[in-house]
Amino acid sequence: MENWSLISLCVLLGLTSRWAVSFHSYSGAGKPPIFGDYEAQRHWQEVTYNLPVHEWYFNNTNNDLNYWGLDYPPLTAYHSLVCAYVAKLLNPEWVELHASRGYESHSHKLFMRATVLFTDILIYIPAVLLYCFYFCDGSSKQKVATALCILLYPGLILIDYGHFQYNSVSLGLALWGTLGLGLGWDLFGCLAFTLTLNYKQMELYHSLPFFCYLLGKCIKQGLTGRGFFHLVKISMTVLVTFALCWMPFLSDPKQPLQVLHRLFPVGRGLFEDKVANTWCSLNVLIKIKTLLSRETQLFLSMLPLLLKDGLLLPYVVTSLAFLFLSLYLLSALERSTEEELRLGLYRKHTQHWLPKLNLSRIIKWKFWFSLVAMAALSFTSVWLKPPAKLPDLFPVLVSVLSFLHFLGFIIYFNQVQLMEPQRKKSLKKTN
């Protein structure tokens, strides 16, 4: 079968699962007076449509910042504005100032879900396809398999189409940035990454690798010659993009300060509600390594959140499907020889006292063990009641287990990164 048909089939499967998940509940559904992320996004459409730009981030009678005040950078606000224009065309009640607070209806839900699908198709999915075909190794069938697995990644689907967010925009733009750098289109990569920074400030977590890579590249080209010129071009791209995004806020010095204050609220705890988003940052990092058997463990941390949203069924189905698919298609466990897992560093250390240790087998056992632990925790979170003295037992256990995994991955990936041999980068990889 030709490539284009296989790709279309993968994309269609991805789109079908996304839309099917969107049938289910969203964050804060039917839960006045605060509701949830879904209401937050609707509220931002209301605010950006009805109020002038200089009032968006300020507290006043028209804009109560305590009720889902805007706390993402301007690009999110512009996106909400565009959505609001469409909403106004379809049904003005959806974005009526004040009166639309807590508005919930079947058609509104369809509209909101459609906005997520639209941006997904526009930004995220093309980036994934390009990534798989230009940066993955292997035959075209393996690339298609990788694309399918990435497209069916449950975490993104559940959060964007279940809980309700627009992570596909920020992750998609970040992926475009990575693609740009990988293909040698540095300015394009910069542009894309700056845009994603202006969409969600969480992407700052990724900014250091970008910065270091580009700086390193410029230094390599010689800071007195071409490298310097390149650095200037990059800086100009970044500055101009920032300026364009923040232009409406530059008229008055108070504006950018207030926006920054909203983006980085030092007053309250930094990890409240942002937990669901930090995994997104890790997610991109890991995709780049395509060791997909590992990602299954990452979204367990979201289980308490998903249960609160009433998304148990999609969680179970998409996780099982993804797990099975990645095991089957990518033969993840079969590729776990020591070499492929790049366990070299570990090998060196353990060689002294445990020479007979079969590390790859240990990894396999660890994988199955984590799966069992995850399944058990999922089961207990849903069906068992925690003891009265420890009401938050299960969410805490979930967090602890996830943290241990994250820690393990950080150590592992650092090791891989340091051990990576210098590759002659032929940037335009032919298929």
Binding site: E2, S8, L9, T16, S17, S107, L327
Partner: protein, 524 residues
């Protein structure tokens, strides 16, 4: 992890599991009144004694399937009891708690296991084709065409029915005939008929085939009948199998003297040549021709507008469609037409049987013939032709071509079943998924010998895209939506009827001109 299964088996398992996951995600989708129909049947079989099953009329959805299906619902109701007892109360009309929905949907998904088994058996009946990579193997293609069939997915798992389970029994019966296990095949078909009597349409194919190829144990060298080889034993055994199945199913009701009541429920006198949405068959074309003639007649002053029945000029899709120019069609007329349409095929397999494949062709023609000419046909009945045709499509070029036209057109004609906005993306994505797969895989399978579809056929199929855009996106925004709301449905029905008729004709040509494998038709 060394896979304990072979490559093929693990692939089958992956496809089956994948489609089951998709079905689970669709649990929360729209469901039609058929959902309440089955809930009502669960309730009445559980709560009422057997003698009252076919008399119960609290709900408008009375039991109109044969007794074996009622027993099936009875069995399900015992499991339903653990999910939500309230759904088993007959008076709880339109009861649809989350537990009820979950149970009913899961029952369809689990019942599909029968379908999975049948598909596996059918794949074994295909001619071996070694040396091809997995995606190009006929068994792989057939597995996907059946397991991921668009029609089954949306009719069973969104609209809500148990067709997967029933078609599983049908395909298993067909597979048994391919495997020369004719007694099992006959038994399965009798069971199927007692589960849903619509399969009466294909009973002639079974009857003629079994009589000709099984009861007459041998044929002459040129393929003609050898009268002396008639085996009374086989005939009697077959008869016993069929009759005993009927006895188990209808027996209790005959004993209670309720047979007339049961039959009246099974074959209700339904008004209307077509139901509210015209199935894309001959009568849709007949209706539109009638409308066209009446409009033209009035225009050219050949007809007096006052003498025409009121409804025909302004009305759209009503159950009682009164023909104004062409003669009205009665149920008897449709029966005669149906019989006439399938007789040549039956005669063909009697005269020159072509083994199990000839039987299958005849079966598809019977199904399609009754779809084309039957009384009050539902558009879902097209699946009875599409699914068995899939088996032929992966082995023969001509049938692959017919399959593509019939399946794409037939599946598109199911679109009006899902009329909600929420399901619109799903039906489009799934339709594209199935269509792209069937087109590309069959094209690759039969790439030797030029293009599979000729330009006319390709243009017709491509015409479905603008049709969909007009009917679903453009038309609702126009002024005519209020005055002629039926127009998109009519357009869809008529356009698809053309494709289905074309497929029917081609299928007949294929049957009548197929090369006789008369080398040695050893039937047993």
């Amino acid at each position: 992890m060394a896979a304990p299964m072979t490559n093929d088996q693990s692939c089958f398992f992956a496809l089956a599991l994948g489609v089951s996951f998709l079905k689970c995600l669709l649990i929360n989708a729209y469901h039609s009144t058929d959902f309440e129909v089955h809930r009502n049947w669960l309730a009445l079989t559980h709560s009422l004694p057997v003698p009252q099953w076919y008399y119960e009329a609290t709900s408008e959805w009375t039991l109109d399937y044969p007794p074996l299906f009622a027993w099936f619902e009875y069995g399900l109701s015992h499991i339903a009891w653990f999910f939500d007892k309230e759904m088993l109360v007959v008076q709880n009309l339109n009861y649809a708690s989350p537990a009820t929905i979950l149970f009913q949907r899961l029952s369809v998904i689990v019942a599909d296991v029968v379908f999975f088994y049948a598909v596996k058996e059918c794949c074994k009946c295909l001619r071996e084709d070694k040396g091809k990579d997995l995606l190009g193997k006929p068994s792989f293609i057939l597995t996907v065409l059946l397991l991921w069939n668009f029609g089954l997915l949306i009719v069973d798992h969104i609209h809500f029915q148990y067709n997967g389970f029933l078609f599983g029994v049908l395909l298993l019966s067909i597979a048994r005939h391919f495997q020369n296990r004719h007694f099992e095949g006959a038994l399965l078909f009798s069971v199927l008929f007692n589960l849903k009597h619509i399969y009466l349409y294909i009973a002639p194919a079974y009857g003629i085939y079994l009589l000709r190829c099984f009861c007459f144990t041998q044929s002459n060298a040129d393929g003609s009948l050898q009268w002396r080889s008639f085996s009374v034993v086989r005939l009697v055994t077959l008869g016993t199998i069929v009759l005993s199945t009927f006895a188990v199913s209808f027996g209790p009701f005959i004993a209670l003297g309720q047979l007339p009541q049961v039959l009246s429920r099974l074959f209700p006198f339904k008004r209307g040549l077509c139901h509210a949405y015209w199935a894309p068959n001959i009568w849709a074309l007949y209706n539109i021709a009638d409308k066209a003639f009446s409009i033209l007649g009035v225009k050219f002053k050949l007809l007096d507008i006052n003498k025409l029945p009121k409804a025909s000029m302004t009305g759209g899709l009503v159950q009682e469609f009164q023909h104004s120019v062409l003669p009205s069609v009665s149920p008897l007329a449709t029966l005669v037409c149906t019989l006439l349409s399938i007789l040549p095929a039956l005669f063909r397999i009697w005269h020159r049987p072509n083994g199990a494949r000839g039987f299958l062709r005849c079966l598809v023609i019977c199904a399609l013939g009754s779809f084309m000419f039957g009384w009050h046909v539902h558009e879902k009945a097209i699946l009875m032709a599409i699914l068995p045709l899939s088996l032929l499509a992966v082995e023969s070029r001509e049938e692959a071509r017919i399959f593509l036209i019939l399946s794409i057109t037939g599946h598109y004609s199911l679109f009006p079943l899902l009329f909600t906005t929420q399901e619109l993306p799903i039906k489009i994505f799934l339709m594209l998924l199935f269509t792209i797969f069937s087109l590309t895989s069959l094209k690759t399978l039969f790439r030797k010998g030029g293009a599979l579809l000729n330009p006319l056929e390709a243009t017709y199929l491509l015409g479905l895209i603008p049709l969909e855009l007009i009917c679903e996106f453009v038309y609702p925004l126009t002024v005519w939506q209020k005055t002629f709301p039926f127009l998109p449905l009519m357009l869809t029905s008529v356009y698809c009827a053309l494709g289905v008729t074309y497929a029917f004709i081609r299928l007949y040509i294929s049957l009548l001109t197929c090369s006789d494998n008369t080398k040695k038709i050893k039937t047993q």
